[in-house]
Amino acid sequence: MSLTLTCPICGERNGYEFRYGGEDKGPRPDRARLTPEQWCDYVHMNDCVAGVQKEWWFHRDGCGAWFTTHRDTRTGLETDGPDNAART
């Protein structure tokens, strides 16, 4: 895992310090009117895009914050936003 991540509290740090928390799927859905399939999709299914995705990371060996960042899954590099511009 040779990447760096930018923690909103600690700044840019070695990727080894973080734990991946999955794609950003939005808040937990309401239980009412939820089919088992929809629930299973929310919990287990991922988009797995080849490109920029918004994702959660936990600064495990640092401040202990959960935060989201945009990362291009093809390069492992963080980007400034959902468009493909690599952070400089």
Binding site: S2, N14, R28, W56, F58, G64
Partner: protein, 976 residues
Amino acid sequence: MNRLTHLPTLRIRPESRRDIHYRGKAHPAAAGDTIATALYANGVRIFGRSLKYHRPRGLYSLDGECGNTTMAVDGVPNVRTETVPARAGMTVKAQNVVGSAERDLLGFMDALSFAMPAGFYYKTMHKPAPVWPLAINRIRKQAGLGAIAPDFEITGVFDELYPRADVCVVGGGPAGMCAALAAAEAGLRVILLEARPWMGGFFDYRAAAHPGGGLLHERARELADQVEKAPTIRVFTSAAMTGAYHDNLITAVQQGGDDDPFDSRYLQIRAGAMVAATGCIERPLLFENNEKPGVMQVGCAHRLARTWGLMPGEKIAFSVGHDLGLEAALDLAELGGRVVCVADIREDGQDPALAAALAERRIPYFKGWVATEAQGRPTLGRAVFSTITGTVQKEFSCDALVASAGFTPVTGPLNTAGAKLAYDNHTGFFLPTDLPPKTHAAGRIMGLQDPLSLETSGRLAGLRAAADCGKRVDDAVRDAEAALASQPGPERGCKLVTAPVKGKKTFICFDEDTTLKNVKQAMAQGFDVPELIKRFTAAGTGPGQGGIPGHNLPLFVAQTQASPDKHPRPTTVRAPLVPPLLAEYAGTNHDMSKRTPVHESQAAAGGKMERIAVWNRARVFSKSKGAKAEIENVRTNVGMLDASTLGKFRIFGPDAVKALQRVYAGDMTKIPSKRMKYAAMCNDDGCLLDDGVIVKQGDAGANDFYFTASTGRAGQTVEWIRYHAKYENWDFHLVNLTDAYGVINLAGPNARKVLEKVADADVSNDAFPFMGYREFTVNQTIPVRAMRLGFVGELSYEFHVPSSWMQALWDVLAEAGAEFGIQNFGLEAQNTLRMEKGHVIIGSESEQRTNLLDLGLGFLWDRNKPEAKTVGAVALRQAEHQKGRLKLVGFRMAEPADRAPKDGSPIVDDRIRGYVCTARYSHALDMPVGMALVEDELTPEGTRLSIFEDGCEGNLIHGEIVSMPFYDPDGKRMRM
């Protein structure tokens, strides 16, 4: 051997002597010697035997570009002796020899080489099929490099370091040093990696004049001095780069020197920008017996003399294709060496001053000539030369033949970084055409040779790297570009690969014993691109990683015009660029573990300490089988357990309850004051993650809670709760107090009698009932949070105290309990005690797919709080009526005389139906009992279980389902 002394370029300190052992004898080495130079100084010429043909091999490059000089050192095979320093007491052994390197009993293999064309093993040994296992056994004995003993354990200190830099410069030659200085001047933090033990590159050992004044080696030391003094440059010498990964992550392995506290060190550098200034190695000249000991490259011969004070031979012949070779011949003559002849591949284009100097010294000098054969046995004694066309021949007696066709840029670092290379007809090099972002190249790797051009190109690359790091250096970059344009550009390179020979014993790859003839055979069979020929002939797949054949193979293939692609194409280079040890990747085994605050007194009391996850815990104290004495003491009297490893947390703030509601299955709005609530956490599949107790602290209205987690789960609890609150913007604080508090479990029917003596509070059954929570002091001093719970099934208290008070409380309780015969109990006793009560331990009685309901803990789930979106609640609802799940049951042995089966034993009929979680002999019940996870059909009481125990040889043992808890089913003893 006599060494040259008083040379300003020497890198040895003969006064600091150490011995290394080889062939049963101590060989003196000087500080600064590598293993290879030390052996050479002691007269060793044959360092080992080759892979297939067992040909003698010796010094060739001095930088470890081939396996010739790999040896076994202190039991470690394949050590590159040209790059590892000679350390006191080392024992060195030659590899791939039967007998000795000088007289190898398998030397006859060389005479059989005609019978082994390219692809020989692939084509002959696979039919009929039974031949292969026999053949492979023979081949493995005869061929291959070093051997390792199966039980060998490496010793040494293997350090690791993960530094950060703005700019990482790879290569500490003139270009690299100038790049580092330029980046440092721009205010950046620089890391410089140099594979050799010192900086200076190909300036370091040369006495030629620098165009800017002085000598090259003087300039090298001047630059090295500046680099060492620059406060923001960190230099790693003896550090060979192993690879570059995306976003400029650079790895290297560093050899420890005399003063380093490690033997080798793995480096992983995160850099903003990279400058590759790795220079050139030499491109071997191919002729008959071109790897005979005594044949060596120009840099090898020159550095032997200038750096280590060792003249490469008594009579030295040269066959070279570049001015550096002429310079070396002159310099060796200057130092007193006898140069018998110099053959120059080039007809013209030489530096006229060098040619004139050779004439002045009356050294026979032949333009357009080349060595065609090395003769002598086992080492060099004579060399044959001819014109390039092969028409006229001459012979010279010599014991060193310095041969080099040209140069090969060391592009491995750029390759692994993702650069594209293309053949350049002027230099004959594969030059980078397309560099990845924030990656630069400088120096000889670009084809430059002129000293000033090298320095300028280094400076330019350093400035461009600085620009990548956001420095405004536009003007300086423009100036450097202009300077470089005015200085000499890349020199035209010699492209000759092979002398006019048939190529039977002309080795294109030493490591794999691949000859020119093998390559021709491969091409005759239709392999027409270097990448395929490499695989068929194995050329370039040895420990040298293509250092010897990497350049010659594509050049040769292109020159034969057999390839569909007429442009030479390099074969792929991959990390690791130099062979690291697995121990170097493994690094120091920092086996870090935690001790509880009463660790010492536990150990002193005879506790058998055992590593459990991150903790050291006492497994047993007594010697009795199955901790019988400890168990009985808790059941009948009173015992004390150190439970400090429990996870302990505080959560507080206006939204603390919302966070608890989210992660705990139960209703966390109903936590009464002065009482504990038992609660469980599930994951989104409803599977049990953790259980523990929660108490309310402070006023009734305060949103302030203290809760416990199981030992194994404590490390993830904060992460888990915050993860599930991440979208909510809730206002709460969560603190991990696991290490800040210790816990003592006081358990047994006499526990209250002990506590009454020391507690400053009424602890009677009415004042402090089962499941109660109290805060009081002990002996007017020690602040205690006391919980009355019954994990072990007796009257039992847990005391949570600040870690600094742990030992004091332990001693107070031990003293108070002395009159009752209080004793320690350990994990083993606790495990049986809780098992008799049917209390689960997560991970013992549960696995990944075990949910709350499977364990019979459904009462911990409150299904009426949908607004909390409780983790696992949806899945529990869905699994409620699911068939085929494994359920937790209790069982006893069908034959009371049977012993308890081993934990983990499968439960079978015609297939596996479950497994035993924990089973122990219960002293309280006087029979073995256990808990198992079984398919739901097997759960009714009385069902017979067939248990397959490891090693039972088909004799199944049988159990019978009984109700749980086994011991004190009504729980009266916990409440007494």
